[in-house]
């Protein structure tokens, strides 16, 4: 393990800029370019905002973000102790539809799938654990 870092946020979307700063720092440490960093920021924001919006329907709760970098992968584990929810089973959005037919939802998980290399959901000890990783092996 070369590097790890952690951030805990309350379920308030106004905290997203703090998340972005955290992800920027992790990606910079991993030596990623600005374009890749922006996309990873997008994937992590979508996953974390999903937890903020839906995990705690009755009030306040936290979302934990653990980042790890090794020689091959950049890995984020996003966890919460809210309602069981597996975002990976959500149906694919159809990106070929017209504007009239496109619905407003489902884009977040779609973007995560497009950007990250592996996505894994587990329910462990009454927590939702969503693991997102990106291969960063230098060519």
């Amino acid at each position: 393990m070369r590097y790890q870092n952690h951030l805990t946020l309350p379920n308030d979307v106004q905290e997203v800029p703090q998340l972005n700063a955290f992800v920027d720092e992790v990606c910079e440490t991993a030596g990623l370019d600005m374009s890749t960093t922006m996309k990873i920021n997008l994937a992590i924001e979508e996953a974390v905002v999903n937890v903020m919006n839906y995990a705690y329907p009755n009030g306040k709760g936290d979302v934990d973000i653990d980042a790890q970098i090794n020689d091959e992968h950049l890995k984020f584990v996003i966890s919460d102790s809210g309602t069981p929810f597996d975002p990976t089973v959500k149906a694919e959005v159809d990106t070929t539809l017209s504007a009239e037919q496109r619905s407003i939802g489902g884009l977040g998980i779609h973007l995560i799938r497009q950007i990250m290399d592996t996505i894994n959901y587990e329910r462990v000890d009454n927590k939702n654990l969503l693991t997102l990783s990106k291969n960063i092996t230098k060519k």
């Binding site: 600005m34 905002v49 504007a99 009239e100 407003i104």
Partner: protein
């Protein structure tokens, strides 16, 4: 995140500056309200200084497009950088909007 609304040669133009993330989207949604009164005008969303957009921002753009189309108004995205274009490509939104 900053937005500026201007009327330029009969077009409704909104300038976006900064990061359109989930935290910014509620405020940006309010600032976009004048664009919905677009009958007889085309809309230009100027993205020259837009650095980032997440799905909450994409939803605002799609919502505007859906409202503008039946009024006969075009929605153009102006000067969007390559990274953001890739986000529009990933979601298929690249086929919905007109890029200038």
């Amino acid at each position: 995140m900053k937005t500026t609304f201007k009327e330029e040669e009969k077009n409704f133009v909104m300038y976006f500056e900064g990061r359109l993330d989930t935290a910014a989207s509620a405020e940006v949604e309010k600032s976009m309200a004048p664009l919905y009164e677009c009958t007889g005008h085309d809309i230009i969303l100027d993205c020259t200084a837009l650095e980032y957009i997440s799905s909450s921002g994409l939803r605002l753009f799609l919502g505007l497009l859906k409202a503008a189309k039946p009024k006969g108004s075009h929605v153009y995205l102006r000067n969007m950088n390559e990274d953001l274009r890739q986000v529009f490509a990933m979601t298929g939104f690249i086929n919905l909007f007109e890029f200038i």
